[in-house]
Symmetry: D2
Subunit: 300 residues, 4 copies
């Protein structure tokens, strides 16, 4: 028996997510929410796979709950369950969101010349690490067309030169509308207009190549070198009208020293960017991230 | 306004744990457990502060749940709640453990000559970081007596020389019996007999100065130097009859290099030992650790 | 043989630093500097223990070298060696600093009410981890007097209330002048005047409880909670006229989550503060840190 | 000006390594080695770019030095410099190795079905992060042929089924001999015979998917799950006759929890494997790793 065979034998297969759903509940905390949700699920024969819950103040704060449950024959039985959940939660004044895990989210990735984050996302998606469908890659440069298409993913080149981005953004909206559930800016390097973020109507995740709020804006590695910091980092966040100020999903850092040049910082930072963005995208695709105010609750 | 005043103003006080309790539920997974537990709590007006849950297999595996809840006037009302919880869980064939958070756990710390881990635990306990009462420190050396007593904690010197530890262990048992809820070996450096671990009747937590299962036994830093590893670590685990083989609670590592001497490894490792042991002790004191087989479930 | 005895046997003693010296060289890079320095050392029979070197540009940038060497009977022989080194380096237009490692640096620690960083430094110094003499602790509160004196270190209470700090600072200067080689602000929480920093005439190291340049100023943990960051950190830096803008010596971070309160962030951050400050102090005491512009070169 | 343009402007180009060489010196420590080496370099007009040095005992231990230097017109002038260095070091009884940095090392990568580590190495090499030429990829499976060839790298499929590997290894030797300076096993999953390791005549680097010496042998993630560890890791090491016992070059770990399945551990571990292997390969390609006994000195 080879090592490969040994490894294969002892590998436990990951449970499929067919017949699973995710329920997010959010609102003013009060006694009995968990009980109301879980007993409604139990009445429908749903088995809880995982349950995470958080209240920012046990006496009357904001309440957040994420419940993954298994439901036999969910395609047929989920609507009745949702009807009852909706009624029960309306009585308690709570909002909810229900996602069928057998239907992967659809994503558009925006890239620029660099294939750093783009390749990482495409490769992880193909290996089954990201439960999502990459519907398209959009770039203002043609450089990553071949790479993208080698993964069987459509590539659209939308040039975006000059001060006026309105033509490019109109083309973006035309491609995206109705086709995607979220957008990932994988080092897109172009500023999106406030109107675009509103009109696109789905969450947009960006990777910023610094530990925000340090080194906001362009050229963070050069600024980090200039300030002499001993760590450089990356931040994945939702895009809002305020550039670099949206809710943070994930951050990480890596140690650097005086001997690292700006190019060294970029190389080390690029590894962190990839890792941070892929975690943020996975968590979003698995409905683990809840936005509230300018923060996120991450049930990772 | 000084910096101190500014800081004090914006510091949010941690909610007190008076009128809070922790319920641990454990057993064979089936549909409706979370619902059964939370609806029983809701019937008694308990408000859930946090709920963690884990099943090692959603279809019929082992199920674990930790629920922290707030209950007004808990001293008077907790017994009735426990009565109902016990009945409900017995029907489902599940075990439970209920802890009143207003009653801190009592701990005995065993130390040797070094004050490294001992001082860290005493200091954190005094700062309110460890919800426990240090009932006594027991050591086979008198070196840490003054330090211990400066924290208002009783110190008992129980010499333990020679091959026969039975007299020392009898003295240990006499001191501990009825007085403590768990024991921490803070670099005690003496092997406890199998009989002692059974007779003491409360959990015993040890800190091992390596990343177990690497470098089992004595002298792990010397072995790490000899093997040329690039990281050294520490492991906090429950003590069982099998030395260094008990359920792991927490582990961490720190980067080292060829240039570090064995003494450097000890110095760097000592920082990790302290950090790992204090996390394990806090999690145990907060009922966040559940033992199952030779593993732990840690709801940290 | 007990575990303790086993460990003691395999522990290699750290080489003493008697008869060792540290030479720091700094200036415009050119061919032959390392050769000039090391051949001068060799001519005096000095044996190089370690040599670190860095140039920010191999063709004509700034050059930095730290050399530790062993010299028999150094008390008698070091002056002649220094005379030759000084001449050789003057020819090359370079500056130098020579420290006899058998003479530990003298430090004053400024503290406030908290014993967090203070206790850590005193304890590490006593364990031989910090090659320095703690000459005194100065505080604007009497709270840590007993703790400090239990380590055999003088404690001076200098109240510092009100807007006018000049009386307090005059008292500080009176205590420090001629008595210390550097100052450590161990969470002192009072802003030092620009004049004080100039007049004190020795390096002053501060610990800031954030990952600078993020969250400059007061209340960084509250700000971090408000911004929803996923890591909190600490920064040790030299104090300059620009508050929180001095050269960074060391930084580190720790992971936090949405569930951490401001008090949790403070508790987790306090561990990082201690670790970062103690590393920075050790590196400074061992002449491993070279200031250049607003940066540091750290040969750690 | 777009963000891209801004970034491009402030990016400092990495200094080219043309006209640079690396000199490794190794042997019994004595007074004057650094001086002898650096003065010989200075006599030839070489400018030191970086110098690292380590002695495991300042009074008569093993001495190691790595010096990178710049030499104008090195193709013509390096031979004379080497002649003098060789003579000087022979007098001192020291060994040396001199590498011209303008000639990248040639590597063969062995892969199996997985493209995890393979893609990472090919991609980093193309981005200029690894100063080496990938001469060929050899695999016992055809799965990664297209991927490899898309990077312009030759791919050879050498089946290796059955107990007798001698035919496969003969084919490996035929392909490698004279063509490569080192070999990387990028999750090759086949055990190499002792004879092969000897005959191949160049260093062979392997990535083991655990924190060695924990979980030696096959199936480390399953073993880690079974032991309930809280961290999983990876180890890059030189291959010797003793499987999993060769000199360690680099290690790292990632935090896991009870909730991670074996497949989760594999996914998280795969990220660490890639990172650890790429660092080890880069350090080897840059002559930063010196083997001594069963250890490595890494001047990273």
């Amino acid at each position: 028996m080879t090592l490969t065979e040994v490894t294969r034998q002892i590998t436990v297969p990951r449970p499929a997510t067919a017949d699973q759903a995710v329920l997010i509940v959010h609102g003013r905390d009060c006694t009995g929410i968990v009980s109301a949700v879980t007993s409604t699920l139990a009445e429908h024969g749903a088995n809880i796979v995982s349950l995470d819950q958080y209240s920012d103040n046990p006496t009357g704060g904001e309440f957040f709950q994420r419940t993954v449950f298994q439901l036999d024959n969910s395609a047929a039985t989920l609507p009745a369950l949702e009807h009852d959940v909706a009624g029960r939660l309306a009585d308690l004044g709570l909002e909810y969101r229900l996602s069928d895990r057998s239907v992967p989210k659809r994503v558009a990735i925006f890239a620029s010349k660099s294939d750093n984050c783009l390749l990482d996302l495409l490769w992880r998606q193909r290996r089954g690490q990201l439960p999502m469908t990459v519907s398209m890659v959009i770039s203002n440069h043609p450089d990553t067309a071949d790479l993208t298409r080698s993964f069987g993913v459509p590539f659209f080149h939308v040039p975006s030169g000059g001060a006026d981005k309105s033509a490019a953004e109109a083309e973006h909206l035309r491609l995206l509308r109705g086709n995607v559930d979220f957008v990932v800016l994988a080092r897109y390097m172009q500023i999106l207009s406030e109107g675009f973020v509103e009109e696109v109507g789905v969450p947009v995740i960006n990777i910023h190549h610094s530990f925000l709020p340090a080194f906001i804006g362009a050229g963070p590695y050069a600024k980090a070198k200039q300030r002499g910091v001993k760590l450089v980092g990356a931040t994945a966040h939702y895009v809002t009208a305020d550039l670099d100020e949206g809710p943070i999903i994930e951050q990480d850092v890596v140690r650097v020293s005086h001997a690292d040049t700006v190019e060294d910082l970029q190389r080390r930072g690029a590894d962190v960017e990839r890792a941070v963005l892929s975690r943020a995208v996975r968590w979003h695709a698995e409905d683990r991230v809840i936005r509230t105010g300018n923060h996120t609750i991450v049930f990772a």
